[in-house]
């Protein structure tokens, strides 16, 4: 595989202060809390920080020990969700244009969401426009059911995805 890092010296951003959910609706037993942007973002990043603040699980960039949030590969605003239409779209921004890890990142996001969202959801993973050299190909690859399924048949790839999704302890 690739020898040496593709982006040796990435810019690391500080973590944004987390938006705290105000649980005002919690009192009503039968009110519905739809799946929203923050929840998806939490699924992708935080293993529910209020349960155990020290075991924050992030999806990690395969190249660096930083989390995708620190590298601004993903932000809260890059998640679009429509609970009624059962649709979610995640747009991520690879750190460099020719990042070969973009597929793995995309695949990891897809797997994480597939594991965590109800089956009714359609998941759409995209690379931010203009952020990658082979943007169109990448988008096509990430949203092709057959190819995703095929990729996940490959034990090496699955291992890599699991590695990305494994908890990182801070």
């Amino acid at each position: 595989m690739v020898s040496g890092l593709i982006n040796e010296n990435p810019t690391v951003y500080e973590r944004k202060e987390r938006r705290v959910r105000t649980d005002s609706t919690n009192s009503d037993e039968f009110s519905v809390e739809p799946i929203d942007q923050l929840e998806i973002f939490d699924i992708l990043f935080f293993d529910f920080a209020f349960i155990n603040i020290h075991h924050i699980r992030d999806i990690r960039d395969p190249e660096h020990p930083y989390s995708l949030e620190q590298l601004k590969v993903l932000t809260e605003d890059s998640v679009e969700v429509d609970d009624l239409k059962s649709y979610v779209r995640v747009t991520f921004t690879p750190t460099v244009e020719h990042c070969s890890m973009a597929t793995i990142i995309g695949l990891s996001i897809r797997v994480k969401l597939m594991r965590s969202l109800p089956p009714r959801y359609k998941i759409d993973i995209r690379v931010a426009p203009g952020s990658h050299a082979t943007e169109a190909a990448l988008n096509k690859q990430l949203n092709d059911k057959e190819r995703v399924a095929a990729a996940l048949e490959n034990p090496n790839l699955v291992e890599m995805v699991d590695e990305c999704l494994s908890p990182s302890f801070e």
């Binding site: 037993e29 519905v32 799946i35 597939m114 089956p119």
Partner: protein, 1166 residues
């Protein structure tokens, strides 16, 4: 001789390196004990060891002999030894120090001998000197292993501590040896001792011509290379020394001798300018130590460099966000980092030590510039960040300097205070008492926030300098307190300025109010007679703050600030016992607020007045007394507002006569009730809404604010008892109440307060309250109820409810009984039992609770120790269970009450009331461990069957009440029968009830005929099971598991039982993780999973779904083979839960799903 034989054995064992350490320790111990007992002497031992000590085998010689001897000596620390023996031993060890193979033994031998103290035979100074010399000459410390190095340092430390004269003789040699030993040391425990050795050396050679002075630069070089300390291996070694301790040791070493000064201060200043926070903190701490130890003259040389460095540290460590919140009223108002704190400490130390340092501060340009900055901005938030920083830091510098000593305070005030006052436009008063009143003196006051902040900081700093009253008399207070006179000159105008700041503030800007109140607080906190604030001025402050509280109609920031300031001042007065100020405080604050409570007609909402009053008054016992008096009056006046009192109120005579007649001839309660009803409706009642609301709020305040602080405030109990009695007086003197829907709230509040007051009162006070209450109740119409015969017809015939007054009296009396302790004497128990019995059958649950409490606390007849009660438990039970035909006292289904419960006679209402009442009585009996509860339980269980013994079907509602009765029996009640209310509680009563009822309930469930009865039985069982301690469940998991699972599925049918279902589910989840339950859980895995899967979609309660999913995740701890077959089933259910309407359930589902997926093969990643 046997001892000697054994000795050889032990010696062999110890010398043999192939044996385990425990073996070694054992043989060592054996020899040590025989030495201790005197069976063996040291001489004998040495003779016996001859071979080992002189053998040519290095290992045996080093280990066996020398180390053995050394460790032996360590054991014998307190055994007296002959001086000759000690001498020869130390000589031996000293010689052995030169031999590297046996160095460990030699070192520990020397150490053990040197450590010997007092009578036990000690090493002479000459010998010690020899040890030191030998050590210095022949040991290369850094070439040794870690443990040996530590021994070396310990030996050095010990020598220096115990033989200072001998070490002084050695002079240079010791210093050289120490330098050499430390050079290159990296282990924290060794360094810790090494630093202490340096300290000891410095203490030993204080003369400027001594060896430390001449070797200072070398010695310093060796220790300074560790500064600032940094651990490379942070984790793992827990036994090691924490960084803070080591850093403290280093700091002490560096500051140990003034000879280090030329090297140390420049180094520390350099490190202070570094960007590493740890370095900054450490150098500040170390500089402070140095300042203490090096002395003023040496430090003086460095002031020029020290001041800017210190200033920079302060600037760099201050944040600009000043808080104007409530919590910062008594604190600096901004965050203090560690660097900041240390910098402040250092500054204070320097100023305190040498007043000339202050010269640098006073002349500093930046400090002087601050007045320009202040006058440039009116409001704090308008300032640029740099200006904010400027103001905050300079205020901090000046206040810290002022706080250091009276002298520095004088200088600061003389230099800056008038300037500050000029900037703010505050004028001084010319002659004591009157103020310069040029027309626009107030207009010219400019309330710059920055200036106010600085001013407050200075005032707060100076207030600590006022000597307490006893010091004051001893020291001449003339010249030294010039700052005091300065403040005094400005005090009147300052107070005015602060007052205007508070008054000019509006809601959207809290800064004005904050600064104003904080300023007033600072002015009001000067202690003692020499305070710069006169009494009239102090009173003015109090008046201002009180008027803020009285004037506001809503809870604003200003209001809260003023209240907190008053509370602070109140507790300040109490702490320093300032009697004069206490009087002012009483007259102005307390009386005003209490009169507000009393008046009940002011703009301020009643709860706010109550809050303010209770907060302010709890600062001192005398205020509390005053307040409770005020509360009493307020209660009486609002109470009489909504009821007609017997006193001078206008009351229709005729009506009154009817009442008296009906009471006197006791013709029947019926006619009385009618007349009472008539009275209520005809009387012109001037009651209003507001007063009844006020009354309940007042009572709530007493319960929530005062009662919890009973232990903190002395004398509160007495006042509260008086309060309770006057409540009764008030009720006694009023005959009619008119209240409708607000009344309930009032009665609830009154019951709660009365119960709690009785609960906390002493037995004597309880007795007096009970007596009073009894008098009231016996003068009311309630006794008429006692005479009602306990027959169904009579009870059913009692159509009308009690009048509101009687209801109030009954409820309050019940509360008194509930709160009374078992030792309190209750008059006329028998008729009271009757009264409560009738009234709970009329539907007053409080009466049932009181009856339960009474039954719980009555003494048993057999003992007869307590003469004060006229009725024993047995007699009371007789009355309650009212055995009509036979004379033996049982309380089962044959009794009158039991018959009503089972529906043999009486209406449904009567039946359910009887069941509920029976539950409370049962609870009282259960808690004291009385056997009669078993029969009650049987009656209740009988009620759960679908038909009673005569074949009549039981009403569902009655069954439901019976099932809930088990909750009453088992759960801890908040309102009665708990520790607070002195219940008699026998240990393990729940366990006992559990073991009695559960088997019966189980068999009833098996034999139940209708679904309803089955459900109700399960509800009852769930109540019992979920209220018993977990350990009991765990002991019985095997038996209970299947019935719990069945219960879960039965209860999940109807949403009515959702709470019960949840508590039962919690019981199940408790059994899943415990080892005791593991086996049976594993055996029943299929049923458990089936049940939990069903509950993951339970629609009525979110927590049930959440807990069910959590339980599923926990089940993964079971053996893999046991759970793997259910993988598909669980995953299906959990996947469905991913789409749950509630977020928390979804979150659990994601985790659970992840966990269950991971046990399956890798080929299905999602």
């Amino acid at each position: 001789m046997a001892a000697l034989n054994n000795l050889t054995e032990h010696l062999e064992a110890f010398v043999d390196v192939t044996r385990s350490p425990t073996h070694h320790a054992e043989s060592l111990k054996a020899i040590a004990t025989s030495l201790e007992k005197g069976v063996l002497s040291i001489n004998q031992l040495v003779v016996e060891m001859d071979m080992y000590l002189t053998t040519t085998d290095d290992v045996v010689r080093a280990r066996g002999s020398i180390l053995l001897l050394a460790e032996m000596l360590d054991y014998l620390k307190s055994k007296p030894l002959d001086n000759a023996v000690v001498h020869s031993l130390i000589g031996f060890f000293t010689a052995k120090l030169a031999e590297w193979r046996s160095v460990r033994g030699a070192l520990s031998g020397c150490l053990a001998l040197i450590k010997r103290k007092g009578v036990a035979g000690v090493v002479t100074a000459v010998d010690a000197e020899a040890v030191a010399k030998s050590m210095a000459q022949s040991i290369q410390v850094q070439s040794l292993a870690l443990y040996d190095r530590k021994l070396c340092f310990e030996l050095l430390e010990c020598l220096l501590e115990q033989y200072p004269e001998a070490m002084i003789n050695l002079g240079d040699l010791m210093v050289y040896a120490t330098c050499e030993a430390i050079d290159g040391e990296k282990d924290p425990p060794c360094l810790m001792i090494a630093f202490h050795v340096v300290e000891l050396l410095a203490r030993l050679f204080p003369s400027p011509s001594g060896p430390v002075a001449s070797e200072a630069s070398d010695l310093f070089e060796f220790i300074s290379c560790y500064f600032p300390l940094h651990y490379t291996h942070t984790k793992g070694d827990e036994a090691s020394i924490p960084r803070e301790d080591l850093s403290r040791g280093l700091s002490l070493a560096i500051s140990s001798t003034p000879f280090f000064e030329p090297y140390a201060i420049p180094l520390l200043l350099e490190k202070l300018s570094a960007s590493l926070p740890v370095a900054k903190v450490d150098s500040l701490k170390c500089l402070k130590d140095c300042a203490v130890n090096y002395g003023v003259s040496r430090m003086k040389k460095h002031y020029k460099d020290l001041w800017p460095a210190l200033k920079d540290a302060l600037y760099a460590s201050t944040k600009t966000d000043l808080s104007f919140g409530l919590e910062s009223l008594t604190s600096p108002g901004f965050e203090m980092g560690e660097i900041h704190r240390e910098a402040v400490n250092l500054l204070q130390r320097l100023v305190k030590q040498d007043i000339s340092f202050l010269g640098l501060v006073v002349e500093d340009i930046r400090v002087n510039m601050v007045f320009d900055t202040i006058s440039r901005y009116l409001r704090y938030e308008e300032m640029l960040d740099t200006s904010k920083l400027e103001v905050l830091v300079v205020s901090q510098i000046l206040s810290v300097s002022a706080r250091s000593s009276v002298e520095s305070c004088n200088i600061i005030f003389e230099t800056f205070f008038s300037r500050l006052m000029n900037t703010l436009g505050i004028v001084e008063k010319t002659s004591p008492g009157d103020l310069v009143h040029n027309e626009n003196s107030t207009v010219s006051t400019r309330l710059y926030h920055g200036g106010l902040h600085l001013c407050i900081e200075l005032l707060t700093a100076s207030k600590d300098l006022i000597p307490s009253s006893e010091e004051c008399t001893s020291t001449p207070e003339s010249a030294q307190q010039s700052w005091c006179s300065i403040v005094n000159r400005f005090s009147a105008s300052l107070i005015e300025a602060f007052t205007s700041a508070v008054q000019s503030s509006n809601d959207d800007c809290s800064a004005d109010a904050y600064l104003g109140v904080k300023g007033l607080l600072a002015m009001g906190m000067f202690r003692g007679g020499s305070s710069p604030v006169s009494r009239s001025e102090f009173e003015k402050i109090l008046t201002t703050l009180t008027s803020i509280i009285a004037a506001n109609s809503a809870k604003t920031v200003k209001w809260e600030l003023a209240l907190k300031a008053l509370v602070c001042m109140g507790s300040f007065i109490d702490r320093y016992s300032e009697s004069e100020k206490a009087m002012s405080y009483m007259a102005i604050v307390v009386e005003n607020l209490v009169s507000l409570v009393r008046s009940s007609h002011c703009s301020l909402p009643h709860p706010m007045i109550l809050e303010a009053t209770s907060e302010v008054c709890s600062t001192m016992p005398t205020y509390v007394e005053k307040m409770v008096e005020g509360f009493e009056e307020a209660f009486c006046s609002s109470f009489s507002d909504f009821c007609v009192s017997l006193g001078p109120m206008t009351l229709d005579r005729k009506v009154f006569t009817i009442v008296s007649v009906s009471i006197s001839n006791k013709q029947g309660i019926e006619s009385f009730l009618i007349s009472n009803y008539y009275l209520e409706n005809t009387c012109q009642v001037n009651g209003n809404f507001k007063s009844i609301e006020n009354c309940s709020q007042l009572l709530e305040c007493v319960t929530n604010k005062l009662l919890p602080r009973l232990t903190e405030i002395d004398g509160l109990e007495k006042s509260l008892v008086n309060f309770a009695i006057s409540m009764w007086n008030q009720i006694e003197s009023s005959i009619v109440f008119s209240y409708d829907f607000n009344g309930r709230e009032f009665v609830e509040a009154a019951m709660k307060t009365m119960g709690e007051i009785v609960g906390v009162a002493s037995v004597d006070s309880q007795n007096s309250i009970i007596q009073k209450a009894y008098n009231v109740i016996s003068s009311s119409t309630l006794p008429a109820m006692e005479s009602i015969p306990l027959t169904v017809a009579a009870l059913e015939g009692l159509q009308r409810n009690l009048s509101t007054r009687d209801e109030l009296i009954l409820s309050l009396f019940a509360s008194v009984i509930i709160g009374a302790s078992p030792k309190a004497s209750i008059p006329d128990v028998k008729s009271l039992v009757d009264l409560f019995l009738v009234s709970f059958l009329k539907g007053y649950i409080r009466a049932a609770q009181a009856l339960g409490s009474m039954i719980n606390k009555l003494v048993t007849g057999s003992g007869g120790t307590n003469i004060s009660t006229d009725c024993s438990l047995e007699e009371a039970c007789d009355i309650i269970f009212h055995e009509s035909d036979s004379s033996k006292t049982i309380c089962g289904s044959e009794t009158f009450l039991g018959k009503i419960c089972l529906g043999f006679c009486g209406s449904l209402d009567l039946q359910t009331r009887a069941i509920t009442g029976l539950a409370w009585i049962g609870k009282g009996l259960l808690m004291r461990g009385d056997k009669r509860v078993n029969e009650i339980a049987l009656v209740l269980m009988e009620c759960l069957k679908s038909t009673n013994s005569s074949g009549n079907a039981l009403h569902p509602s009655a069954m439901k009440h019976a099932a809930d009765a088990f909750l009453t029996l088992m759960s801890d009640s908040e309102v009665c029968l708990n520790r607070k209310f002195h219940a008699v509680i026998r240990p393990l009563y729940k366990q006992r009830f559990f073991s009695i009822t559960v088997p019966i309930l189980e068999s009833l469930i098996v034999n139940s005929q209708t679904p309803l009865s089955r459900t109700m039985l399960h509800v009852a069982l769930a109540h019992v099971v979920s209220n018993v301690p977990v350990t009991v469940i765990l002991d019985n998991t095997k038996k209970l598991l299947s019935v719990i699972l069945e219960g879960l599925s039965v209860l999940s049918v109807d949403s009515v039982h959702k709470e019960t279902l949840f508590s039962l589910l919690l019981v199940l989840s408790g059994t899943l993780t415990d080892i005791k339950g593991q086996q049976s859980v594993s055996d029943n895995a299929h049923r458990i999973i089936e049940c939990l899967v069903k509950l993951t979609s339970y629609p009525h309660l979110m927590v049930v779904r959440e807990t069910a999913i959590q339980c599923l995740a926990t089940l993964l701890e079971l053996p893999h083979g046991r759970i793997y077959p259910f993988r598909r089933e669980v995953l299906q259910a959990v996947t469905k839960a991913l789409d749950d309407p509630k977020r928390r359930v979804r979150e659990e589902a994601i985790k659970c799903r992840q966990a269950w997926t991971s046990i399956s093969s890798r080929s299905t990643p999602f």
